[in-house]
């Protein structure tokens, strides 16, 4: 379980958010939503301690990751898989090597075992045939999927998705959403999805955390969100024709 307690972060004079607290139960998928620039990506970088908060704590299975020494922190980070917004693939190596990268350094597996695990991870994202492609040859959707394969290859307990569908066409976005659901089920992973794509939220999330006005403005299940009368949340989720239609149909 991940417990976020009274987290506050600012960059210089700019307050990002303050006193953010919520829990993420094992096995659930939570979507962190909010306007662009509200600090969603900053928040998930605090969960695996890529950024340090001004105050507050993040407990991973009861241990505060921000109070750990660097070596323990690095070990704990191996429990996390992260899909970055731009995929963050290493462009000097090909698809296979990108996925094999963490295995080569953090496991004592033989070359054959590495190969089997890489191909298994690529099969989860339906990219077995692209294993020898250079990263420059991959489309945006393929890059996301390779990034996802790399994120799951060490069989993490938690996976964090930073804008997994941004910049993708609706069909590819849908495929990524399906993948998030499939991976959560088949690998029993706790998922944290940062997005402002409400279609994606409705499709993949069990719970939603809404950041607004430099704080956690609303937190609850997707069903509760659909019924919520929270004005800023309603304004955010009904900001497109599609979502207005969804809400009208629901009501």
């Amino acid at each position: 379980m991940i417990e976020i307690k009274n987290l506050t972060k600012s960059f210089g004079d700019l307050l990002v958010w303050e006193d953010v607290s919520f829990n993420i139960q094992d096995g659930e998928t939570i979507a962190i939503i909010g306007k662009s620039g509200c600090g969603k990506s900053v928040l998930i970088k605090h969960i695996n301690a890529l950024l340090v908060p001004d105050s507050g704590s993040v407990l991973i299975d009861g241990e505060d990751i921000h109070k750990m020494d660097y070596v323990s922190k690095r070990k704990l980070r191996q429990k996390f898989g992260v899909l970055f917004q731009g995929s963050a693939l290493f462009d000097s190596i090909n698809t296979f090597e990108n996925v094999a990268f963490p295995l080569r350094y953090f496991s004592n597996q033989s070359e054959e075992e590495i190969r089997n695990n890489v191909m298994e991870a690529l099969s989860h994202v339906n990219l077995e045939d692209a294993y020898n492609k250079e990263t420059s040859e991959l489309s945006g959707g393929m890059r996301k999927r390779v990034g996802l394969a790399r994120a799951i290859v060490l069989k993490p307990n938690y996976i964090m998705y930073d804008e997994p569908t941004s910049g993708l066409d609706p069909q590819t976005s849908q495929e990524i959403n399906e993948l998030i659901i499939d991976l959560a089920k088949s690998l029993d992973i706790t998922s944290i999805v940062v997005t402002h794509d409400m279609h994606s939220v409705l499709k993949v999330a069990d719970k939603v955390a809404f950041l607004d006005q430099e704080k956690l403005s609303w937190h609850g299940t997707v069903e509760e969100m659909k019924k919520s009368e929270h004005k800023a949340l309603i304004d955010f989720i009904t900001a497109s024709e599609y979502q207005i239609k969804q809400r009208v149909e629901y009501n």
Partner: protein, 245 residues
């Protein structure tokens, strides 16, 4: 104030690099890769730089020392000593600040802004050990090797220029070079290249590692890495000459 903050951050990065230098398994592969990129790949430009520096020095020295009272062997002594004690190290380092330093700053800067460094950290890697340590170590090791190349081609260039322009016969050039040769100048050259290698690779790594702001930010950090490296190399050259000569 900003300069002090930068110095503090740079020192912190160096401290982290020093602490991480024991994790040889993490950076072994990239260390050898960097040795090739910094050393082997720089040989052609260092050969050219050395050769033309030596050639021009011979021609200009011959022009300035044209006198019946000055033996021609003096030109060989001036050229070879200047190359060994100063020019091979400093000119090569200024060229390498542009070639090696800019490459390191651009590579690391691009990795920073495209979140590849975050990806490494989030996988549990020590990114300083993986990215900074091999580059700095390879620089420290390969710069003195490149100094040898610069010296050989510098003196060789001087010799050939004297020969082909007819200003200094090879025998006179070599006589002068041998007569005034002091082994300490070569050791001094090696010490300088060791220090310059550290300065260029560490400053460029620092500037790239902390790059911000997309393509423009990477460009800025690359420019800063090259300019600051050149300035610090010249300052270190002065300090080393004051201390060791």
């Amino acid at each position: 104030m900003k300069a002090l903050r930068e110095l503090g951050n740079y020192s912190t990065l160096l401290y982290q690099a020093l602490r991480s230098s024991t994790e040889f398994k993490t950076y072994r592969k990239s260390f050898f890769h960097e040795m090739v990129k910094i050393g082997y790949d720089s040989v052609p430009i260092i050969m050219l730089t050395g050769f033309f520096t030596g050639s021009v020095m011979t021609i200009q020295s011959a022009y300035q020392l044209e006198s019946a009272f000055i033996p021609l062997s003096t030109i060989g002594a001036i050229v070879s000593e200047s190359i060994l004690i100063e020019l091979a190290a400093v000119i090569s380092s200024l060229v390498l600040a542009g070639k090696v330093g800019a490459r390191i700053a651009t590579e690391l800067g691009t990795m920073r802004v495209s979140e590849q460094i975050d990806a490494l950290e989030s996988m549990g890697f020590n990114s300083v050990s993986f990215l900074v340590v091999p580059r700095v170590l390879a620089g420290i090791m390969m710069f003195p090797v490149l100094y040898i190349v610069a010296c050989v081609f510098g003196i060789g260039g001087g010799l050939l220029a004297g020969l082909f322009t007819g200003t200094v016969p090879a025998a006179d050039f070599l006589l002068g070079a041998r007569m005034y040769f002091q082994p300490w100048t070569v050791i001094f050259g090696f010490v300088k290249m060791f220090v310059f290698g550290f300065i260029i690779t560490s400053i460029s790594s620092y500037k790239g590692y902390y790059a911000t702001g997309g393509a423009e930010g990477v460009g800025k950090s690359t420019t800063n890495a090259t300019v600051i490296s050149c300035m610090v190399v010249l300052l270190a050259d002065f300090l080393l000459a004051s201390l060791l000569l």
